[in-house]
Symmetry: C2
Protein backbone atom coordinates (compact mmCIF):
# COMPACT_ATOMS: atom_id res chain seq x y z
CA UNK A 1 0.00 0.00 0.00
CA UNK A 2 1.35 3.42 -0.98
CA UNK A 3 0.32 6.22 1.33
CA UNK A 4 -1.06 9.14 -0.63
CA UNK A 5 -2.38 12.62 0.02
CA UNK A 6 -4.85 14.55 -2.09
CA UNK A 7 -3.75 18.05 -3.06
CA UNK A 8 -6.73 20.19 -3.98
CA UNK A 9 -6.35 23.56 -5.65
CA UNK A 10 -9.56 25.59 -5.66
CA UNK A 11 -9.79 28.16 -8.42
CA UNK A 12 -12.55 30.53 -9.43
CA UNK A 13 -13.35 28.41 -12.50
CA UNK A 14 -11.81 24.97 -12.00
CA UNK A 15 -10.66 22.83 -9.11
CA UNK A 16 -7.61 20.66 -9.70
CA UNK A 17 -6.93 17.55 -7.66
CA UNK A 18 -3.63 15.68 -7.48
CA UNK A 19 -2.87 12.30 -5.94
CA UNK A 20 0.61 12.75 -4.47
CA UNK A 21 2.88 10.39 -2.56
CA UNK A 22 5.16 11.48 0.26
CA UNK A 23 8.07 12.06 -2.13
CA UNK A 24 6.07 14.46 -4.26
CA UNK A 25 5.33 12.06 -7.13
CA UNK A 26 2.10 13.03 -8.81
CA UNK A 27 0.40 9.65 -9.35
CA UNK A 28 -2.75 11.04 -10.90
CA UNK A 29 -4.50 14.32 -11.44
CA UNK A 30 -7.89 15.53 -12.56
CA UNK A 31 -9.76 18.80 -12.87
CA UNK A 32 -13.46 19.55 -12.45
CA UNK A 33 -15.44 22.79 -12.65
CA UNK A 34 -15.61 24.52 -9.25
CA UNK A 35 -19.18 23.82 -8.11
CA UNK A 36 -21.54 26.62 -7.10
CA UNK A 37 -21.71 25.24 -3.56
CA UNK A 38 -18.95 23.86 -1.39
CA UNK A 39 -21.06 20.79 -0.49
CA UNK A 40 -21.43 19.93 -4.19
CA UNK A 41 -17.69 20.41 -4.80
CA UNK A 42 -16.72 18.06 -1.95
CA UNK A 43 -19.14 15.41 -3.21
CA UNK A 44 -17.92 15.73 -6.80
CA UNK A 45 -14.26 15.48 -5.82
CA UNK A 46 -15.06 12.28 -3.88
CA UNK A 47 -17.05 10.73 -6.72
CA UNK A 48 -14.36 11.53 -9.29
CA UNK A 49 -11.57 10.29 -7.01
CA UNK A 50 -13.38 6.99 -6.38
CA UNK A 51 -14.14 6.55 -10.07
CA UNK A 52 -10.42 6.54 -10.87
CA UNK A 53 -10.14 3.33 -8.85
CA UNK A 54 -6.48 3.66 -7.81
CA UNK A 55 -5.21 0.36 -6.41
CA UNK A 56 -2.86 -0.32 -3.51
CA UNK A 57 -3.10 3.20 -2.16
CA UNK A 58 -4.16 4.39 1.26
CA UNK A 59 -5.37 7.97 1.67
CA UNK A 60 -3.56 9.62 4.58
CA UNK A 61 -4.83 13.19 4.39
CA UNK A 62 -6.00 16.08 2.27
CA UNK A 63 -4.38 19.45 1.67
CA UNK A 64 -6.34 22.33 0.19
CA UNK A 65 -5.10 25.55 -1.37
CA UNK A 66 -7.87 28.10 -1.68
CA UNK A 67 -8.25 31.87 -2.14
CA UNK A 68 -8.82 33.62 1.22
CA UNK A 69 -8.01 30.36 2.97
CA UNK A 70 -7.63 30.55 6.75
CA UNK A 71 -5.15 27.97 7.95
CA UNK A 72 -6.15 28.10 11.63
CA UNK A 73 -9.85 27.60 11.03
CA UNK A 74 -9.69 25.57 7.82
CA UNK A 75 -12.15 28.01 6.32
CA UNK A 76 -12.52 29.91 3.06
CA UNK A 77 -13.63 33.40 4.05
CA UNK A 78 -15.46 35.81 1.76
CA UNK A 79 -13.50 34.77 -1.33
CA UNK A 80 -14.28 37.38 -3.99
CA UNK A 81 -13.69 35.00 -6.91
CA UNK A 82 -15.89 32.14 -5.64
CA UNK A 83 -19.68 32.01 -5.70
CA UNK A 84 -19.68 30.60 -2.14
CA UNK A 85 -20.94 33.10 0.41
CA UNK A 86 -19.50 33.99 3.81
CA UNK A 87 -17.26 31.64 5.80
CA UNK A 88 -17.09 28.06 4.51
CA UNK A 89 -15.54 25.36 6.79
CA UNK A 90 -14.06 23.55 3.80
CA UNK A 91 -11.32 21.55 5.55
CA UNK A 92 -13.85 20.08 7.98
CA UNK A 93 -16.23 19.24 5.12
CA UNK A 94 -13.52 17.38 3.21
CA UNK A 95 -12.35 15.64 6.38
CA UNK A 96 -15.85 14.38 7.22
CA UNK A 97 -16.67 13.27 3.69
CA UNK A 98 -13.38 11.41 3.19
CA UNK A 99 -12.80 10.26 6.76
CA UNK A 100 -9.20 11.55 6.85
CA UNK A 101 -7.68 14.76 8.30
CA UNK A 102 -7.70 17.81 6.03
CA UNK A 103 -5.84 21.15 6.18
CA UNK A 104 -6.34 24.35 4.23
CA UNK A 105 -4.34 27.47 3.46
CA UNK A 106 -4.11 30.00 0.68
CA UNK A 107 -2.48 29.02 -2.59
CA UNK A 108 0.73 31.02 -2.11
CA UNK A 109 1.35 29.45 1.31
CA UNK A 110 0.72 26.03 -0.20
CA UNK A 111 3.22 26.83 -2.96
CA UNK A 112 5.78 27.82 -0.29
CA UNK A 113 5.35 24.51 1.53
CA UNK A 114 5.54 22.65 -1.78
CA UNK A 115 8.81 24.42 -2.57
CA UNK A 116 10.15 23.42 0.85
CA UNK A 117 9.19 19.77 0.52
CA UNK A 118 9.57 19.04 -3.17
CA UNK A 119 11.27 22.04 -4.79
CA UNK A 120 14.24 24.38 -4.57
CA UNK A 121 13.69 25.42 -0.93
CA UNK A 122 14.64 22.06 0.57
CA UNK A 123 16.73 22.77 3.66
CA UNK A 124 16.14 26.53 3.48
CA UNK A 125 14.69 27.80 6.75
CA UNK A 126 13.96 31.41 5.80
CA UNK A 127 12.56 32.26 2.42
CA UNK A 128 9.69 34.04 0.68
CA UNK A 129 7.63 32.62 -2.19
CA UNK A 130 6.17 35.22 -4.54
CA UNK A 131 3.50 34.12 -7.01
CA UNK A 132 3.11 36.49 -9.94
CA UNK A 133 -0.24 35.56 -11.45
CA UNK A 134 -3.42 37.61 -11.87
CA UNK A 135 -2.43 39.14 -8.55
CA UNK A 136 0.69 38.87 -6.43
CA UNK A 137 0.53 36.23 -3.72
CA UNK A 138 3.15 35.42 -1.12
CA UNK A 139 4.10 32.78 1.38
CA UNK A 140 6.56 33.88 4.04
CA UNK A 141 8.60 31.14 5.71
CA UNK A 142 10.48 31.86 8.94
CA UNK A 143 12.54 29.20 10.65
CA UNK A 144 11.01 26.45 8.49
CA UNK A 145 7.39 27.37 9.17
CA UNK A 146 4.90 29.38 7.13
CA UNK A 147 3.97 32.65 8.86
CA UNK A 148 0.19 32.59 9.31
CA UNK A 149 -0.08 35.50 11.76
CA UNK A 150 -2.51 35.83 14.62
CA UNK A 151 -5.57 35.33 12.39
CA UNK A 152 -4.27 33.06 9.62
CA UNK A 153 -4.05 35.82 6.99
CA UNK A 154 -0.39 36.87 7.07
CA UNK A 155 1.66 37.13 3.88
CA UNK A 156 -0.42 39.56 1.83
CA UNK A 157 2.58 41.18 0.15
CA UNK A 158 0.50 41.88 -2.95
CA UNK A 159 -1.19 44.57 -0.89
CA UNK A 160 1.85 46.35 0.45
CA UNK A 161 1.51 49.85 -0.93
CA UNK A 162 4.05 51.01 -3.51
CA UNK A 163 2.50 54.36 -4.35
CA UNK A 164 -0.18 55.95 -2.15
CA UNK A 165 -1.40 58.00 -5.11
CA UNK A 166 -1.06 55.10 -7.52
CA UNK A 167 -3.28 52.65 -9.35
CA UNK A 168 -6.68 51.58 -8.04
CA UNK A 169 -6.54 48.09 -6.57
CA UNK A 170 -9.31 45.50 -6.32
CA UNK A 171 -8.92 45.72 -2.53
CA UNK A 172 -10.37 49.25 -2.61
CA UNK A 173 -7.10 51.04 -1.88
CA UNK A 174 -4.51 52.61 -4.15
CA UNK A 175 -1.04 51.69 -5.38
CA UNK A 176 -0.78 48.12 -4.06
CA UNK A 177 2.24 46.17 -5.28
CA UNK A 178 0.12 43.73 -7.27
CA UNK A 179 -1.29 46.52 -9.43
CA UNK A 180 2.25 46.86 -10.83
CA UNK A 181 3.99 43.52 -10.33
CA UNK A 182 1.75 40.74 -11.60
CA UNK A 183 0.58 39.46 -14.98
CA UNK A 184 -2.26 41.97 -14.78
CA UNK A 185 -0.04 44.78 -13.49
CA UNK A 186 2.45 44.61 -16.33
CA UNK A 187 -0.43 44.78 -18.83
CA UNK A 188 -1.72 47.90 -17.06
CA UNK A 189 1.75 49.43 -17.37
CA UNK A 190 1.84 48.62 -21.09
CA UNK A 191 -1.61 50.06 -21.71
CA UNK A 192 -0.82 53.23 -19.75
CA UNK A 193 2.49 53.77 -21.51
CA UNK A 194 1.11 53.10 -24.99
CA UNK A 195 -1.52 55.77 -24.37
CA UNK A 196 0.94 58.26 -22.90
CA UNK A 197 4.03 57.75 -25.08
CA UNK A 198 4.22 58.20 -28.81
CA UNK A 199 7.27 55.94 -29.23
CA UNK A 200 6.87 53.14 -31.76
CA UNK A 201 6.44 49.63 -30.42
CA UNK A 202 5.40 46.27 -31.82
CA UNK A 203 2.90 46.15 -28.93
CA UNK A 204 0.76 48.69 -30.81
CA UNK A 205 -0.05 46.16 -33.52
CA UNK A 206 0.16 42.85 -31.71
CA UNK A 207 -3.51 42.58 -30.76
CA UNK A 208 -4.58 41.96 -27.16
CA UNK A 209 -1.73 42.75 -24.80
CA UNK A 210 -0.83 40.06 -22.26
CA UNK A 211 2.15 39.42 -20.00
CA UNK A 212 3.21 36.85 -22.58
CA UNK A 213 2.96 39.23 -25.57
CA UNK A 214 4.97 41.87 -23.69
CA UNK A 215 7.62 39.22 -22.94
CA UNK A 216 7.70 38.17 -26.60
CA UNK A 217 8.09 41.79 -27.72
CA UNK A 218 10.85 42.39 -25.17
CA UNK A 219 12.55 39.16 -26.24
CA UNK A 220 12.48 40.40 -29.85
CA UNK A 221 14.15 43.66 -28.80
CA UNK A 222 11.16 46.01 -28.61
CA UNK A 223 12.48 48.92 -26.56
CA UNK A 224 9.21 49.94 -24.96
CA UNK A 225 8.55 46.34 -23.88
CA UNK A 226 12.05 46.15 -22.40
CA UNK A 227 11.42 49.38 -20.48
CA UNK A 228 8.11 48.00 -19.23
CA UNK A 229 9.95 45.01 -17.79
CA UNK A 230 12.54 47.32 -16.28
CA UNK A 231 9.84 49.40 -14.57
CA UNK A 232 8.02 46.30 -13.32
CA UNK A 233 11.32 44.94 -12.00
CA UNK A 234 12.08 48.25 -10.29
CA UNK A 235 8.76 48.30 -8.42
CA UNK A 236 9.08 44.64 -7.43
CA UNK A 237 12.79 44.93 -6.57
CA UNK A 238 12.19 47.90 -4.26
CA UNK A 239 9.35 46.18 -2.42
CA UNK A 240 11.27 42.91 -2.11
CA UNK A 241 14.15 44.90 -0.60
CA UNK A 242 11.66 46.12 2.04
CA UNK A 243 10.57 42.52 2.59
CA UNK A 244 14.21 41.60 3.25
CA UNK A 245 14.46 44.29 5.92
CA UNK A 246 11.47 42.59 7.53
CA UNK A 247 12.35 38.87 7.68
CA UNK A 248 15.81 38.61 6.09
CA UNK A 249 15.14 35.56 3.92
CA UNK A 250 17.99 33.55 2.41
CA UNK A 251 16.19 33.32 -0.94
CA UNK A 252 13.13 34.86 -2.60
CA UNK A 253 11.48 32.49 -5.07
CA UNK A 254 9.36 33.68 -7.98
CA UNK A 255 6.57 31.66 -9.48
CA UNK A 256 3.54 32.03 -11.76
CA UNK A 257 2.60 33.49 -15.14
CA UNK A 258 4.80 36.58 -15.11
CA UNK A 259 7.78 34.56 -13.83
CA UNK A 260 7.69 32.70 -17.15
CA UNK A 261 9.31 35.77 -18.68
CA UNK A 262 12.50 34.32 -17.20
CA UNK A 263 15.62 36.43 -17.59
CA UNK A 264 13.62 39.28 -19.14
CA UNK A 265 12.28 39.83 -15.65
CA UNK A 266 15.09 38.37 -13.54
CA UNK A 267 17.98 40.39 -14.99
CA UNK A 268 16.51 43.86 -14.25
CA UNK A 269 14.97 42.56 -11.02
CA UNK A 270 18.33 41.49 -9.64
CA UNK A 271 19.80 44.89 -10.50
CA UNK A 272 17.01 46.95 -8.88
CA UNK A 273 16.73 44.62 -5.90
CA UNK A 274 20.44 44.75 -5.15
CA UNK A 275 20.51 48.56 -5.54
CA UNK A 276 17.57 48.90 -3.15
CA UNK A 277 18.86 46.66 -0.36
CA UNK A 278 20.05 48.03 2.95
CA UNK A 279 23.86 47.79 3.15
CA UNK A 280 23.95 44.85 5.60
CA UNK A 281 21.89 42.70 3.17
CA UNK A 282 23.69 43.52 -0.08
CA UNK A 283 25.11 40.50 -1.91
CA UNK A 284 23.56 38.06 0.58
CA UNK A 285 19.99 37.42 -0.62
CA UNK A 286 19.31 35.16 -3.60
CA UNK A 287 16.52 35.62 -6.13
CA UNK A 288 15.52 32.42 -7.93
CA UNK A 289 12.68 30.81 -9.82
CA UNK A 290 10.58 28.11 -8.24
CA UNK A 291 11.64 24.57 -9.12
CA UNK A 292 8.09 23.20 -9.04
CA UNK A 293 6.68 22.21 -12.44
CA UNK A 294 4.25 25.02 -13.25
CA UNK A 295 1.16 23.06 -14.21
CA UNK A 296 1.38 20.78 -11.16
CA UNK A 297 2.70 23.21 -8.56
CA UNK A 298 -0.66 24.14 -7.05
CA UNK A 299 -1.75 20.55 -6.38
CA UNK A 300 1.76 19.56 -5.27
CA UNK A 301 1.76 22.53 -2.89
CA UNK A 302 -1.65 21.63 -1.50
CA UNK A 303 -0.63 17.98 -1.03
CA UNK A 304 2.61 19.08 0.65
CA UNK A 305 0.52 20.91 3.28
CA UNK A 306 -1.04 17.57 4.20
CA UNK A 307 2.35 15.81 4.30
CA UNK A 308 3.84 18.67 6.32
CA UNK A 309 1.07 18.37 8.92
CA UNK A 310 1.06 14.56 8.95
CA UNK A 311 4.80 14.39 9.61
CA UNK B 1 20.29 31.47 46.44
CA UNK B 2 18.33 33.58 43.96
CA UNK B 3 19.15 32.85 40.34
CA UNK B 4 19.87 36.05 38.46
CA UNK B 5 20.71 37.15 34.93
CA UNK B 6 22.63 40.24 33.89
CA UNK B 7 20.91 42.39 31.30
CA UNK B 8 23.42 44.58 29.50
CA UNK B 9 22.38 47.43 27.25
CA UNK B 10 25.22 48.80 25.14
CA UNK B 11 24.77 52.36 24.00
CA UNK B 12 27.02 54.70 22.07
CA UNK B 13 27.82 56.68 25.24
CA UNK B 14 26.89 54.55 28.25
CA UNK B 15 26.39 50.89 29.00
CA UNK B 16 23.65 50.03 31.50
CA UNK B 17 23.67 46.80 33.45
CA UNK B 18 20.74 45.33 35.36
CA UNK B 19 20.66 42.41 37.78
CA UNK B 20 17.33 40.75 37.08
CA UNK B 21 15.62 37.70 38.56
CA UNK B 22 13.49 35.26 36.57
CA UNK B 23 10.31 37.19 37.36
CA UNK B 24 11.69 40.43 35.96
CA UNK B 25 12.50 42.09 39.29
CA UNK B 26 15.37 44.52 38.87
CA UNK B 27 17.51 43.84 41.97
CA UNK B 28 20.23 46.30 41.11
CA UNK B 29 21.39 48.44 38.22
CA UNK B 30 24.43 50.48 37.31
CA UNK B 31 25.74 52.40 34.34
CA UNK B 32 29.30 52.92 33.12
CA UNK B 33 30.74 54.78 30.12
CA UNK B 34 30.96 52.49 27.07
CA UNK B 35 34.67 51.74 26.84
CA UNK B 36 36.67 52.39 23.69
CA UNK B 37 37.42 48.68 23.36
CA UNK B 38 35.14 45.72 23.91
CA UNK B 39 37.77 43.98 26.06
CA UNK B 40 37.90 46.96 28.42
CA UNK B 41 34.09 47.12 28.61
CA UNK B 42 33.78 43.43 29.56
CA UNK B 43 36.44 43.82 32.25
CA UNK B 44 34.84 46.99 33.64
CA UNK B 45 31.38 45.42 33.80
CA UNK B 46 32.84 42.47 35.74
CA UNK B 47 34.76 44.68 38.18
CA UNK B 48 31.73 46.88 38.83
CA UNK B 49 29.42 43.89 39.22
CA UNK B 50 31.76 42.23 41.72
CA UNK B 51 32.20 45.46 43.65
CA UNK B 52 28.47 45.57 44.38
CA UNK B 53 28.88 42.38 46.39
CA UNK B 54 25.33 41.02 45.99
CA UNK B 55 24.71 38.20 48.43
CA UNK B 56 22.80 34.94 48.03
CA UNK B 57 22.63 35.24 44.27
CA UNK B 58 23.83 32.85 41.59
CA UNK B 59 24.53 34.18 38.10
CA UNK B 60 22.77 31.98 35.51
CA UNK B 61 23.46 33.85 32.30
CA UNK B 62 23.97 37.14 30.52
CA UNK B 63 21.79 38.83 27.92
CA UNK B 64 23.13 41.69 25.80
CA UNK B 65 21.26 44.23 23.72
CA UNK B 66 23.58 46.01 21.30
CA UNK B 67 23.32 48.06 18.12
CA UNK B 68 23.94 45.87 15.02
CA UNK B 69 23.82 42.82 17.26
CA UNK B 70 23.80 39.46 15.47
CA UNK B 71 21.87 36.90 17.49
CA UNK B 72 23.21 33.83 15.68
CA UNK B 73 26.87 34.75 16.03
CA UNK B 74 26.70 36.73 19.26
CA UNK B 75 28.60 39.49 17.51
CA UNK B 76 28.33 43.25 17.19
CA UNK B 77 28.99 44.00 13.52
CA UNK B 78 30.18 47.33 12.19
CA UNK B 79 28.10 49.37 14.64
CA UNK B 80 28.20 52.96 13.40
CA UNK B 81 27.70 54.51 16.87
CA UNK B 82 30.42 52.51 18.65
CA UNK B 83 34.15 53.11 18.43
CA UNK B 84 34.74 49.32 18.14
CA UNK B 85 35.85 48.29 14.67
CA UNK B 86 34.64 45.39 12.54
CA UNK B 87 33.03 42.27 13.99
CA UNK B 88 33.26 41.90 17.77
CA UNK B 89 32.37 38.49 19.35
CA UNK B 90 30.91 40.18 22.41
CA UNK B 91 28.69 37.33 23.69
CA UNK B 92 31.65 34.95 23.70
CA UNK B 93 33.83 37.52 25.46
CA UNK B 94 31.26 38.04 28.23
CA UNK B 95 30.69 34.26 28.53
CA UNK B 96 34.40 33.57 28.94
CA UNK B 97 35.01 36.38 31.38
CA UNK B 98 32.02 35.52 33.60
CA UNK B 99 31.98 31.74 33.11
CA UNK B 100 28.26 31.65 32.27
CA UNK B 101 26.42 31.46 28.93
CA UNK B 102 25.73 34.78 27.16
CA UNK B 103 23.44 35.76 24.30
CA UNK B 104 23.23 38.91 22.25
CA UNK B 105 20.73 40.60 19.98
CA UNK B 106 19.83 44.11 18.96
CA UNK B 107 18.06 46.37 21.42
CA UNK B 108 14.66 46.29 19.72
CA UNK B 109 14.61 42.48 19.69
CA UNK B 110 15.61 42.49 23.36
CA UNK B 111 12.75 44.90 24.08
CA UNK B 112 10.34 42.55 22.27
CA UNK B 113 11.45 39.58 24.40
CA UNK B 114 11.22 41.75 27.52
CA UNK B 115 7.66 42.71 26.62
CA UNK B 116 6.82 39.02 26.13
CA UNK B 117 8.29 37.93 29.43
CA UNK B 118 7.69 40.86 31.75
CA UNK B 119 5.39 43.31 29.93
CA UNK B 120 2.13 43.66 28.01
CA UNK B 121 2.86 40.92 25.44
CA UNK B 122 2.57 38.01 27.90
CA UNK B 123 0.71 35.23 26.11
CA UNK B 124 0.71 37.06 22.76
CA UNK B 125 2.25 34.88 20.07
CA UNK B 126 2.35 37.36 17.19
CA UNK B 127 3.28 40.98 17.75
CA UNK B 128 5.67 43.70 16.66
CA UNK B 129 7.63 45.98 18.97
CA UNK B 130 8.46 49.40 17.54
CA UNK B 131 11.02 51.54 19.36
CA UNK B 132 10.77 55.22 18.49
CA UNK B 133 14.07 56.68 19.65
CA UNK B 134 16.85 58.40 17.72
CA UNK B 135 15.97 55.92 14.98
CA UNK B 136 13.13 53.45 14.59
CA UNK B 137 13.94 49.93 15.75
CA UNK B 138 11.73 46.88 15.58
CA UNK B 139 11.42 43.39 16.96
CA UNK B 140 9.10 41.09 15.03
CA UNK B 141 7.65 38.14 16.96
CA UNK B 142 6.00 35.27 15.09
CA UNK B 143 4.53 32.32 16.92
CA UNK B 144 6.24 33.33 20.17
CA UNK B 145 9.73 33.65 18.71
CA UNK B 146 11.70 36.69 17.56
CA UNK B 147 12.28 36.64 13.79
CA UNK B 148 16.04 36.79 13.28
CA UNK B 149 16.09 35.85 9.59
CA UNK B 150 18.74 33.80 7.82
CA UNK B 151 21.60 36.05 8.94
CA UNK B 152 20.39 37.38 12.29
CA UNK B 153 19.52 40.86 11.00
CA UNK B 154 15.76 40.66 10.38
CA UNK B 155 13.40 43.33 11.73
CA UNK B 156 14.90 46.50 10.26
CA UNK B 157 11.55 48.24 9.84
CA UNK B 158 13.19 51.61 10.36
CA UNK B 159 14.66 51.15 6.89
CA UNK B 160 11.53 50.24 5.01
CA UNK B 161 11.22 53.01 2.44
CA UNK B 162 8.31 55.41 2.78
CA UNK B 163 9.27 57.80 0.00
CA UNK B 164 11.87 56.90 -2.65
CA UNK B 165 12.50 60.60 -3.29
CA UNK B 166 12.35 61.48 0.38
CA UNK B 167 14.73 62.43 3.17
CA UNK B 168 18.35 61.32 3.25
CA UNK B 169 18.88 58.52 5.72
CA UNK B 170 22.01 57.61 7.68
CA UNK B 171 21.96 54.25 5.85
CA UNK B 172 22.86 56.01 2.59
CA UNK B 173 19.44 55.64 1.00
CA UNK B 174 16.44 57.94 0.84
CA UNK B 175 13.03 58.13 2.49
CA UNK B 176 13.43 55.42 5.13
CA UNK B 177 10.63 55.24 7.70
CA UNK B 178 12.91 56.31 10.55
CA UNK B 179 13.68 59.64 8.87
CA UNK B 180 10.00 60.50 9.52
CA UNK B 181 8.84 58.38 12.44
CA UNK B 182 11.33 58.69 15.28
CA UNK B 183 12.34 61.35 17.79
CA UNK B 184 14.80 62.65 15.19
CA UNK B 185 12.30 62.34 12.33
CA UNK B 186 9.62 64.46 13.95
CA UNK B 187 12.19 67.18 14.62
CA UNK B 188 13.17 67.12 10.92
CA UNK B 189 9.51 67.52 10.02
CA UNK B 190 9.18 70.49 12.39
CA UNK B 191 12.32 72.16 11.05
CA UNK B 192 11.25 71.63 7.42
CA UNK B 193 7.76 72.93 8.02
CA UNK B 194 8.88 75.98 10.02
CA UNK B 195 11.16 76.93 7.11
CA UNK B 196 8.50 76.31 4.47
CA UNK B 197 5.32 77.57 6.16
CA UNK B 198 4.73 81.08 7.41
CA UNK B 199 2.02 80.06 9.89
CA UNK B 200 2.60 81.18 13.48
CA UNK B 201 3.64 78.57 16.00
CA UNK B 202 5.02 78.56 19.51
CA UNK B 203 7.78 76.30 18.13
CA UNK B 204 9.34 79.39 16.50
CA UNK B 205 10.24 80.86 19.84
CA UNK B 206 10.70 77.82 22.06
CA UNK B 207 14.43 77.39 21.52
CA UNK B 208 15.91 74.06 20.42
CA UNK B 209 13.22 71.86 18.93
CA UNK B 210 12.96 68.34 20.31
CA UNK B 211 10.33 65.59 20.17
CA UNK B 212 9.44 66.67 23.69
CA UNK B 213 9.05 70.37 22.87
CA UNK B 214 6.85 69.50 19.86
CA UNK B 215 4.70 67.33 22.13
CA UNK B 216 4.45 70.14 24.67
CA UNK B 217 3.42 72.62 21.97
CA UNK B 218 0.84 70.18 20.56
CA UNK B 219 -0.44 69.52 24.07
CA UNK B 220 -0.90 73.27 24.54
CA UNK B 221 -2.93 73.46 21.32
CA UNK B 222 -0.31 74.74 18.86
CA UNK B 223 -1.85 73.91 15.48
CA UNK B 224 1.38 73.41 13.57
CA UNK B 225 2.64 71.02 16.25
CA UNK B 226 -0.63 69.09 16.11
CA UNK B 227 -0.30 68.83 12.32
CA UNK B 228 3.28 67.64 12.69
CA UNK B 229 2.05 64.82 14.92
CA UNK B 230 -0.71 64.03 12.43
CA UNK B 231 1.80 63.79 9.58
CA UNK B 232 4.17 61.63 11.64
CA UNK B 233 1.26 59.39 12.57
CA UNK B 234 0.17 59.13 8.94
CA UNK B 235 3.60 57.97 7.77
CA UNK B 236 3.92 55.51 10.65
CA UNK B 237 0.32 54.30 10.35
CA UNK B 238 0.69 53.57 6.65
CA UNK B 239 3.90 51.63 7.11
CA UNK B 240 2.54 49.69 10.09
CA UNK B 241 -0.45 48.73 7.91
CA UNK B 242 2.06 47.25 5.44
CA UNK B 243 3.72 45.42 8.32
CA UNK B 244 0.35 43.90 9.22
CA UNK B 245 -0.06 42.60 5.65
CA UNK B 246 3.29 40.89 6.19
CA UNK B 247 2.99 39.06 9.52
CA UNK B 248 -0.53 39.86 10.79
CA UNK B 249 0.37 40.62 14.41
CA UNK B 250 -2.26 40.70 17.12
CA UNK B 251 -0.78 43.88 18.61
CA UNK B 252 1.84 46.46 17.67
CA UNK B 253 3.59 47.93 20.71
CA UNK B 254 5.22 51.35 20.72
CA UNK B 255 8.12 52.28 22.91
CA UNK B 256 10.83 54.92 23.27
CA UNK B 257 11.22 58.70 23.38
CA UNK B 258 8.61 59.64 20.81
CA UNK B 259 6.09 57.20 22.34
CA UNK B 260 6.16 59.40 25.45
CA UNK B 261 3.95 61.82 23.52
CA UNK B 262 1.17 59.39 24.45
CA UNK B 263 -2.26 60.17 23.03
CA UNK B 264 -0.85 63.07 20.98
CA UNK B 265 0.71 60.36 18.84
CA UNK B 266 -1.63 57.44 19.49
CA UNK B 267 -4.91 59.16 18.57
CA UNK B 268 -3.92 60.18 15.01
CA UNK B 269 -1.90 56.97 14.63
CA UNK B 270 -4.92 54.77 15.28
CA UNK B 271 -6.95 56.75 12.76
CA UNK B 272 -4.37 56.59 9.95
CA UNK B 273 -3.45 52.99 10.73
CA UNK B 274 -7.06 51.80 10.62
CA UNK B 275 -7.72 53.74 7.40
CA UNK B 276 -4.66 52.19 5.76
CA UNK B 277 -5.33 48.55 6.69
CA UNK B 278 -6.39 45.99 4.14
CA UNK B 279 -10.08 45.14 4.62
CA UNK B 280 -9.50 41.70 6.21
CA UNK B 281 -7.39 43.28 8.97
CA UNK B 282 -9.60 46.25 9.83
CA UNK B 283 -10.73 46.41 13.45
CA UNK B 284 -8.59 43.40 14.41
CA UNK B 285 -5.11 44.74 15.16
CA UNK B 286 -4.38 46.57 18.42
CA UNK B 287 -1.94 49.44 18.85
CA UNK B 288 -0.63 49.85 22.39
CA UNK B 289 2.21 51.30 24.40
CA UNK B 290 4.83 49.06 25.93
CA UNK B 291 4.23 48.21 29.58
CA UNK B 292 7.93 48.09 30.44
CA UNK B 293 9.14 50.93 32.67
CA UNK B 294 11.02 53.19 30.29
CA UNK B 295 14.24 53.71 32.17
CA UNK B 296 14.67 50.00 32.88
CA UNK B 297 13.26 48.49 29.71
CA UNK B 298 16.57 48.05 27.90
CA UNK B 299 18.26 46.10 30.71
CA UNK B 300 15.07 44.15 31.45
CA UNK B 301 14.84 43.27 27.76
CA UNK B 302 18.46 42.18 27.62
CA UNK B 303 18.06 40.06 30.77
CA UNK B 304 14.88 38.52 29.36
CA UNK B 305 16.90 37.27 26.38
CA UNK B 306 19.05 35.27 28.82
CA UNK B 307 16.00 33.91 30.68
CA UNK B 308 14.29 33.06 27.38
CA UNK B 309 17.31 31.06 26.25
CA UNK B 310 17.93 29.44 29.64
CA UNK B 311 14.34 28.15 29.84
Amino acid sequence: MTKIALGIDIGGTNTAVGVVDVKGNLLHRFSIPTAKSAEALVAEVKLTYEAIGLKNVSLAGIGIGAPNGNYYKGTVEFAPNLSWKGVVPLAEMFAKHFGVPAWLTNDANAAAIGEMQFGAAKGIKDFIMITLGTGLGSGVVVNGEVVYGHDGFAGELGHIVYDYDGRSCGCGRKGCLETYASATGIVRTAEEWLMKESVSSSLRTSGIITAKSIAEAAGAGDELAIEIFDFTAKVLGRQLADAVAFTSPETIFLFGGLANAGELLMRPLKKHFEESLLQIFKGKIKLAFSALPEGDAAVLGAASLAWHELN
